[in-house]
């Protein structure tokens, strides 16, 4: 899949994210839009996970620790053929398995998340397991930047370092916002890269909304022999829709009719522009 195809997919994914949030009347809009390029590259280029091999343990694994961005995950799994669009549209409906956080009742979901600060340690467990069996698989996990305030994250990092987990790839969705406001006001994280480095991890920063940059950085894994990998993915929360970008209220705001039409319109224009480039 070439860069342009991936970029086009990102736009389609953003439209689906907005559609399912709009139609189900609930969702974490901005966080899903901020991380979708990362999921796009992972599932279409890197992970090699699909419905045919998902039930085997012998494959790469992905845990979405920032579970609230479930619409991004459900959207990509739908595109990968884990279920139909019709099934996806039961999101948040009574008795549907498609609830507002990742659950293993939905085919393709690796781990139940939603309470922040759990995914990394579970990923560490998986990565240690692969090392014990000398299997060549990697474990990827996506964390929010606000999520880094949970102390359990730092416990996991220390274990990752101890066991030299160069098969662990920790991606931080560094959109600089959480529910209350800017991460640097709520609970300052900087200097973030240095924090990870001092914990013994190997860190790279990329533009987390550029599929090209993301592909390149994943190709460099493992960054260093015997060191766990951290990718600080600098993203824009709400990326792709002008009036959602960097607006803190859109953390869990649902678009109304007008906003939905406008957002889809903007994304359609981006698609035309991309095709004409």
């Amino acid at each position: 899949m070439n860069i342009k195809t991936l970029q086009s997919k990102s736009i389609e994914y953003r439209k689906t994210i907005l559609e399912i949030i709009y139609k189900s009347g609930a969702g974490h809009t901005a966080g899903s839009l901020s991380c979708i390029d990362i999921l796009n590259v992972l599932y279409n280029k890197i992970l090699k996970v699909d419905p045919s091999n998902f039930n085997s343990n012998d494959r790469n694994h992905y845990i979405q620790s920032k579970g609230h961005s479930v619409e991004a995950l459900y959207t990509i799994l739908c595109d990968k053929g884990f279920y139909t669009k019709e099934q996806l549209l039961t999101l948040n409906k009574f008795n549907s398995h498609f609830i507002g956080h990742p659950t293993r009742k939905v085919f393709g979901v690796e781990h139940n998340t939603g309470a922040l600060g759990h995914g990394l340690s579970v990923a560490v467990g998986m990565a240690i397991g692969f090392k014990l069996d000398t299997k060549p698989y990697s474990v990827f996990t996506l964390l929010g930047d606000g999520e880094l305030s949970e102390g359990s994250v730092w416990e996991g990092l220390m274990t990752a370092n101890k066991y030299n987990l160069d098969n662990l790839i920790i991606i931080i969705d560094r959109n600089r916002l959480q529910i209350t406001g800017e991460t640097e006001n709520v609970n300052p994280l900087e200097p973030l890269k240095e924090k990870f480095t001092s914990f013994g991890l190997s860190v790279k920063e990329v533009n987390g909304n550029s599929v090209e940059d993301l592909i390149n950085v994943f190709k460099e894994v493992p960054f260093e022999n015997k060191k766990p990998n951290v990718i600080i993915a600098n993203t824009i929360k709400g990326k792709g829709v002008s009036f959602i970008e960097n607006e803190v209220v859109w953390h869990h705001k649902v678009p109304d009719d007008d906003q939905y039409t406008k957002a889809i319109d903007e994304l359609n224009k981006q698609k035309i522009q991309l095709e004409n480039d």
Binding site: A26, N95, H97, H101, K105, G146, S149, T180, V186
Partner: protein
């Protein structure tokens, strides 16, 4: 009459009190929006401490603030507050005896479709097993206000939980209120409903249905789970034909099992039914859909009541 959400009353009451008492401090974990404390933060920025998404940190910091004389309210979603930070509650608050008020917002199944990670249907059970922790659950705006007012100068660790939906007015404003003393809302001989928190409202509606069919029911708002008002419970059930307990919580370890243990140990045999969430993978739905599904729809409650005593 529909009033405000208990959440709203909590935040207004607390802001009112904090304006006149500089020792009141609120601690939040990226939860000031969910706790309706944004105005509090704007008006009294020096009385709100923000710790980021770190509930364990929050609870232990509350203990520290209390230890140096602050009147502390730790506010976070009940699920994270009571599951994530359980050891801090047990050791730093209850065991160490710091009179902090822990406020579990969006409790029970308030988060609806957000699912099990966000539901707190375990909180009463786990906290009941911890010594030196009072547990209070308001059923309406009146009880919420009274609890928050009492909490400021309450000398013991306290846990309060409530939801975020507008509530019916249940009590008159001249009703007396004391933590530890349940309130009898209605009295009738056929059946007794013992409910806690916002499920009192569902029992209230069920009783309205039953009254049309000439059943006379007692309704107790058992707002305090710990210490439990055993004498009110025993008085209320003296001549009844059946008892139904109601809670937005697992059937395990909550109000219903508290009552059943008293009944068994007092050798009282009667028709008795616990209504709460069964031990199963919970169905997906909005808060009210989930409550309805698990027998808490007023119409269904009325049927269960009739069957129980027929």
């Amino acid at each position: 009459m529909i009033e405000k959400a208990n959440l709203e009353v909590f935040s207004e009451t607390l802001l009112d009190l904090a304006r006149h008492d500089k020792d009141i401090v609120v601690v939040t974990s990226d939860s000031r929006g969910s706790g309706k404390l944004t105005n509090f933060g704007k008006e009294l920025p020096d009385q709100i401490i923000e710790v980021g998404i770190a509930e364990q940190n929050l609870v232990a910091i509350c203990a520290g603030l209390s230890a140096v004389g602050k009147k502390v309210f730790g506010v976070s979603p009940s699920s994270f507050l009571t599951a994530r930070a359980l050891e801090q509650i047990k050791n730093d608050i209850a065991y160490s005896n710091h009179p902090v008020t822990l406020v579990g917002i969006s409790s029970g199944v308030s988060y609806g479709q957000l699912g099990s990670t966000h539901h707190s249907i375990h909180d009463i059970a786990v906290l009941r097993a911890i010594n030196n922790l009072n547990i209070v659950i308001p059923c309406d705006n009146f009880e919420t206000k009274k609890i928050i007012q009492a909490a400021v100068n309450f000398n013991e660790p306290l846990f309060v939980r409530f939801g975020k939906k507008p509530m019916l007015k249940i009590h008159n404003d001249n009703q007396s209120f004391k933590i530890g003393k349940g309130i009898s809302i209605k009295e009738g001989k056929d059946l007794v409903f013992i409910a806690t928190g916002e499920t009192v409202q569902r029992a209230y509606k069920a009783i309205e249905i039953l009254e049309k069919d000439n059943f006379k029911c007692t309704l107790i708002s058992m707002h305090t789970i710990k210490p439990f008002d055993e004498s009110l419970f025993l008085d209320s059930i003296k001549h009844t034909r059946g008892i139904i307990t109601l809670e937005e919580h697992s059937e395990s370890g909550g109000l219903g099992e508290r009552c059943s243990s008293i009944l068994a140990q007092k050798k009282i045999t009667t028709n008795f039914k616990i209504i709460g969430f069964p031990d199963e993978y919970m169905i997906n739905g909005s808060q009210s859909d989930v409550l309805d599904h698990y027998n808490m729809e007023p119409k269904r409650l009325a049927e269960i009541a009739k069957n129980l005593i027929s």
